[in-house]
Subunit: 383 residues, 4 copies
Amino acid sequence: MTRKILMHVGPVTIDYEVLAAGLRGDTGFTSQEFIYAMSYSMKFLRKLMGADQSYQPFIIPGGGTSAMESVTSLLRRGDKVLVVSNGVFGDRWKQIFNRYSVAVDVIKAEPGEYVKPDDVEKAVKEEKYTLVAMTHVETSTGVRAPIAEIAKRIRDKVELIAVDGVSSVGAESVKTKELSIDVYLTASQKAIGVPPGAGLLVLSERAVSRLSDESVAGYYLNLKNWIDVMRNLEDEKGSYFATLPVHLIFMLAKAFELIEKEGLENRIKRHERVAQGIRAGIESMGLDIVAKRPEAYSNTVTAVMVKKVNPAEVLKAVIPEGLELAPGVHPALAGKYFRIGHMGWVNQNDVITTIAVLERVLKRLGEPVNLGEGVRAVQLTFT
Amino acid sequence: MTRKILMHVGPVTIDYEVLAAGLRGDTGFTSQEFIYAMSYSMKFLRKLMGADQSYQPFIIPGGGTSAMESVTSLLRRGDKVLVVSNGVFGDRWKQIFNRYSVAVDVIKAEPGEYVKPDDVEKAVKEEKYTLVAMTHVETSTGVRAPIAEIAKRIRDKVELIAVDGVSSVGAESVKTKELSIDVYLTASQKAIGVPPGAGLLVLSERAVSRLSDESVAGYYLNLKNWIDVMRNLEDEKGSYFATLPVHLIFMLAKAFELIEKEGLENRIKRHERVAQGIRAGIESMGLDIVAKRPEAYSNTVTAVMVKKVNPAEVLKAVIPEGLELAPGVHPALAGKYFRIGHMGWVNQNDVITTIAVLERVLKRLGEPVNLGEGVRAVQLTFT
Amino acid sequence: MTRKILMHVGPVTIDYEVLAAGLRGDTGFTSQEFIYAMSYSMKFLRKLMGADQSYQPFIIPGGGTSAMESVTSLLRRGDKVLVVSNGVFGDRWKQIFNRYSVAVDVIKAEPGEYVKPDDVEKAVKEEKYTLVAMTHVETSTGVRAPIAEIAKRIRDKVELIAVDGVSSVGAESVKTKELSIDVYLTASQKAIGVPPGAGLLVLSERAVSRLSDESVAGYYLNLKNWIDVMRNLEDEKGSYFATLPVHLIFMLAKAFELIEKEGLENRIKRHERVAQGIRAGIESMGLDIVAKRPEAYSNTVTAVMVKKVNPAEVLKAVIPEGLELAPGVHPALAGKYFRIGHMGWVNQNDVITTIAVLERVLKRLGEPVNLGEGVRAVQLTFT
Amino acid sequence: MTRKILMHVGPVTIDYEVLAAGLRGDTGFTSQEFIYAMSYSMKFLRKLMGADQSYQPFIIPGGGTSAMESVTSLLRRGDKVLVVSNGVFGDRWKQIFNRYSVAVDVIKAEPGEYVKPDDVEKAVKEEKYTLVAMTHVETSTGVRAPIAEIAKRIRDKVELIAVDGVSSVGAESVKTKELSIDVYLTASQKAIGVPPGAGLLVLSERAVSRLSDESVAGYYLNLKNWIDVMRNLEDEKGSYFATLPVHLIFMLAKAFELIEKEGLENRIKRHERVAQGIRAGIESMGLDIVAKRPEAYSNTVTAVMVKKVNPAEVLKAVIPEGLELAPGVHPALAGKYFRIGHMGWVNQNDVITTIAVLERVLKRLGEPVNLGEGVRAVQLTFT
């Protein structure tokens, strides 16, 4: 079966209109077309992030992890960082900062839970942190954290707040300016629906003022090296520090154009509806969702606990049915779950297909599933 | 004029067969197709680098600069590094290492020259260096260094030798194994002829044995974090550290397939012939080439000194003629030159076009050019 | 919603691997690549048609109707033709022949029925016909005729038998040689899964021997003008009569390559399974299928009678749900039905999507549909 | 060498922006996008033809020859037709009409010449013709006929005038309305720069009034069967007679959009400049052009007489140099010439490349060519 859908956590199923925008054999980084695509993309990135003109957008090579590491551009030797971790990608903040001469404290939640706002508030009262680093939607468990509430509680107690929005930007409500967050970041291959290859972030003025030669950052991911390039390109002037992913930027600009056409609010609602459909289907099959409470459900990732079958077998068995899903990666739940990514250009038809394939495959592999109940539940949700 | 050629230093004109290989809306990093494309690409990368089975290939997100920075994965606090710099990208080695707790010495050549093997040998005799970092072809001036001779002179006097082959791999003779070089690196958008988005490198066993938690490297560009992923993918097993540029890898694998079909020797000869044509055309117009001696001429980049005109005007004027060239970036020659990139899928027809457009544009802008002499010189070269 | 599926009667949803094969800006009809693609395609066409080396394949510009009209190349002034019509495209045979100086008799079936083999046999016994023209699957009603039985009954009583396989070739069992049929034809945009632009047919030796300047045919669709071109191209020699659709031929060759990889038997089984799923879903919603008996069900087109709603409203309402269906075109059933095409690269997921969208849309528009029953029926079929 | 240019008479080198417009896997002929693309294309076709609202545009499957044959829709049994032939494609008018019950007279010119307006005028004075059929640019010899002058002389003496503009529309001045021509036709793969697959024509009101069931035309190419479809689609209403080449229409609409952006006048001037460059290069090599006088030179095709070498050898030898040319097809000049097509997205760089390759190849094969003189002549032309 050649035609598939990719219900993954990134890359995800990509619209061919986006992919075709990268079909350019003759366009360099000094061309007006590229410069315009960058300028447009940076301007749109602010809107996508709920940021205003006071924020500086960056589009740099790499992905989510490199964008996270670029936050070291704001830190100096000896700074104290608090990491609020709800899973593997929360822990990644810690692993990154541990490579640098900064002190790192971590508050962790159980898998399926998020760290309570109370606990974060308590931590920042007890200790003076330069930076609090959080995760909006934890990709390893599909848990969405109450970023707004936490931000409100800690905003005036810490210098910088950074949010990993890798699995939220473009699919969840993101209010960088309103919450006065200093760094909001994402990656091209997630809810934006472009191939992997770029990290995208916005920096508050406070964050920008911290860029300096004294930061602990290295070279390539040091935002101080990129800021003039970003400003020049936004002003439609050619500029170079290291080569940007030219073809990807054309795809990004096309995706942003399509997002603008759909409307950001509509896009978020679409993700919400799709996520509801996925959960309705999963629950009707009697399976548990890793995220433990409805407030923790995300619009983009649903992690699913299996009962009898091996999740690796599920992932293998859905492939010939035209579906690719994502493996579970949280070590505490190893061998117990798989993930369904539902972001980007995903639609209701993808939900029906996913649940239909899962019903058949899970039943075949031995889960106690009643064929037809999952798809029926989805249909009722979509009415 | 919509159809152009891109005689740039990267990205370069790309064959649409390569671009079309990335047209996949439904393929994730866990898919067999991707895993196979990575496995094939890593195996072919060894051949491209003149490396053997003892070398470990890496294909990581980013480009040339990030690949250079990943060499910090081999260094520990206090290590001494010698940088051999022939221009802007030689200096970049220094700028990178300066962000880390290592000591850096630099030997520099005048623009258009390369550092003499004697001088490198003398330096490594006087001081014990963990690493000597060099540049094969200096992209800012088009100067090719005598890597083989330098390597032979210093091999037994230093622990590690790293070569930036960004503007050489795929277009110049590269003999990593024969010269016992520890790190040879390049980027996807240069002579390999793929869009920008990946750094490619091979590490000797000696280099691999230096990967450790004690290195000065950060996280994303830390090869210790990537090595298991690379080994697993080469063995056709799915693996994840951070998201690889899936679509770009499909293009890379297609480019490697085409390189294999053309034959690496033929490809290098093609670049040689093309470079000869470019130089014949430029010289017949009475213009000087930045590289000062024939031994320093490269197969991939020709930097051209202008006499009367402003090179920025030249770059602007060639665009409506269907040609995009690269600006000069060496600060010592600012405003005095431009660059012609000739790598990847470049052919003799591109040479004729480039020289024809330059003749007309330079004459129009006031250089003393005799129309027809440049293209005639190219024709005589190609007979 | 940008991503759609096209459950139409042609063009149908096309795999991007097929579409990408046409991305060639530089290939003329004299190029070896084109000549090879034609040669390969003609050879494969024989297999697809169940023909052997004694049959002459043709791939000519146009589509199904032009391929039908090219059958006039076999007729001479005054010849008698019998048309066996089960609907709009059966009648099309008559409309075509009526433009020429031949005598045409027609036997017709009610919509949803096919003309009985007995009746055809009787007709050819009563009258001497040069040609009997039939339709394998009538696209207007989705009715499949018992071609094999009819052919066996009439084979020795008529000179030539021509079958319109537009909605069957590639999805139903086609046995041109075994049944000694003289002309079997199809179009690129149907079960072969390529964009519209070519008619494809095979001619028996008997049919080839009828090509002459005395035929009633015109010029462009006169197979006598094409036969040498076809023979030359199959022998990998360049040849020209009128310009062939070069880019489409590259897509056709890629589609044939994918069909060969899937296996023709597997492909037919896939269509069968998909058709069963569609019918199970439709019937579980309490809707009638136009084809009146199971023997008349086709693997490629299901025509669906609505009860209360306007079928034009259904077609309009499914579009924003990411689905495009085909209108009913049989005048006797005007305003009473719509069609679902299920051919080409169609898969089980497309069936679930189609039935899910139809359930919701039909219910919303007022049909008495129980949500979830259609998709459940499909699931049970696919277990 | 993978990257080529196609200096052919159709298909020609196609811009990838045009090709990418056809990358749609999910769009049927009932979709709004298709209907809009058809509507836009028909409206633009009038402008391209120099026609006004009183003309009816048609875009039908096939190409130039099928468009020519569709003119039979205007003829009735016994009508008299005058064919004015300057070569192979002029003769094609005759071959077509000979298949129908109409009387055909032909006036012919020597190869390289065109039939004099005097001679046409004389012919239509001596005999009453329903239709005079001419060729604007004779593709077999590159000869451009003085259509305007002929049309003025004969307009009031014949009922219908049809012009084959296959190698002129989009690249030469076309004044259908001003000259009161009844049928002007072309094909998608010529100066419009789209893959082959459609014939395009406009009909005057007088021509439209001749469409009837009494015409001699067949079925598929009978414009009476298409006219309602064309009118409906122009009015953005879905309509069907036989399947249109959906994907090609998207490419056509994109090409028309690019032509509109370039400006039709600019496009014609570009073709003129390119043709001058080609001729300057050819003449400077001492080779003769088949078109005998400057008034007969066309903007789109240059036929070149060779002296010593075999033209088939030339065509073969240019291929590995990245160039594809067209063979000579005029029987009177068999083995003595080849053709250079220069239409569509052709630019000055293609001219330099073509002449450069030809210089080298012709010299290598034994023509007395001085390397460098051809390209110099082109450069002087382009200053």
